[in-house]
């Protein structure tokens, strides 16, 4: 089964762009659906935690492989 319904490629981008794009991508999803975000900015870890805290969306997971960060966000 697919772990997510939508993907956002934010690699190479610095905050706030990944946050703004995440907000836009999530607005197209229904509650309970999951967005996968890929990013390379190390600041994205803190930023997406803060983003979820403020918007009520759930950060299901956050991992790093070879300098690339992968996040799964569940829409509130």
């Amino acid at each position: 089964m697919n772990t997510h319904q939508a993907e956002l490629d934010a690699r190479g981008m610095n905050c706030p762009l990944p946050i703004l794009k995440a907000k836009k991508s999530l607005s197209a999803l229904s509650a309970g659906e999951v967005l996968q975000i890929r990013a390379t900015d190390p600041g994205s870890v803190k930023d997406l935690e803060a983003f979820c805290l403020q918007t009520g969306n759930e950060l299901l997971s956050s991992s790093e492989v070879d300098g690339e960060f992968i996040f799964l966000l569940k829409k509130h």
């Binding site: 981008m13 610095n14 905050c15 706030p16 762009l17 946050i19 703004l20 907000k23 190390p42 600041g43 803190k46 930023d47 803060a50 983003f51 403020q54 918007t55």
Partner: protein, 211 residues
């Protein structure tokens, strides 16, 4: 006599003193002896933590580059149009530089001494703005179905130069020329000028009146 500190505290105090001196005099203007004497320790103590002046300088730069402004609040507030978000994140950045201008001093001093420093500061600070400007201009052009006459990358460069010069004048030079304009007002006016510049272009696109 200098108090005995734990290794981590000593390291942090060396970095703090080195940052102030490097920001004031640049890499070549500071000797290890001067940093040591400012700390009240011998140069040997410094070399125990950092193998060379270069290693210390590089660590100061890394520490500064790793400090990021938190743009999440500014990005999520309403109104969330390009102009409003751009103004809010620029004000967050300006406030941060006003609080600790050493970052900007290091960037300006480093820009002539070491191109890598410029790149490092661009990646950690300015790219937040240029990314957002480039993306938003391209998205707007797609929405309009027309290509802007202004290269978004050039617009990003204009923005960077404009804001950096304003921060230099207000936070480092403390120029009397702009003393009657508070920093947030100066930034607000400059962002407005920038937006006018890229919007005027959009209004006249496709007409090629001046060609």
């Amino acid at each position: 006599m200098a108090k005995r500190l734990k290794a981590t505290e000593r390291r942090a105090s060396i970095l703090a003193v080195a940052k102030v001196l490097f920001a004031d005099k640049g890499y070549h203007g500071v000797a290890v002896d001067e940093i040591a004497s400012r700390l009240g320790v011998s140069p040997a103590v410094l070399y125990r933590h950092f193998p060379s002046k270069e290693a210390l300088y590089s660590e100061v730069l890394d520490t500064l580059a790793a400090q990021r402004e938190n743009y999440v609040d500014a990005a999520l507030q309403n109104p969330d149009d390009f102009a409003s978000v751009l103004l809010r994140i620029t004000l967050v950045f300006a406030e941060s530089v006003a609080r600790d201008p050493d970052y900007l001093k290091m960037e300006l001093l480093g820009s002539l001494e070491d191109a890598q420093v410029t790149q490092q500061f661009f990646e950690s600070r300015w790219k937040s703005f240029t990314d957002y400007i480039e993306y938003s201009m391209r998205e707007q052009a797609l929405k309009d179905g027309l290509l802007s006459q202004i290269n978004p990358r050039v617009a990003g460069l204009m923005f960077q130069g404009m804001v950096r010069e304003a921060l230099y004048a207000k936070c480092i030079l403390h120029s009397s020329r702009y003393q009657d304009i508070a920093l947030p007002d100066l930034i607000t006016q400059l962002v407005k000028l920038f937006l006018n510049a890229i919007t005027d272009n959009n209004d006249s696109k496709g007409e090629n009146k001046h060609e």
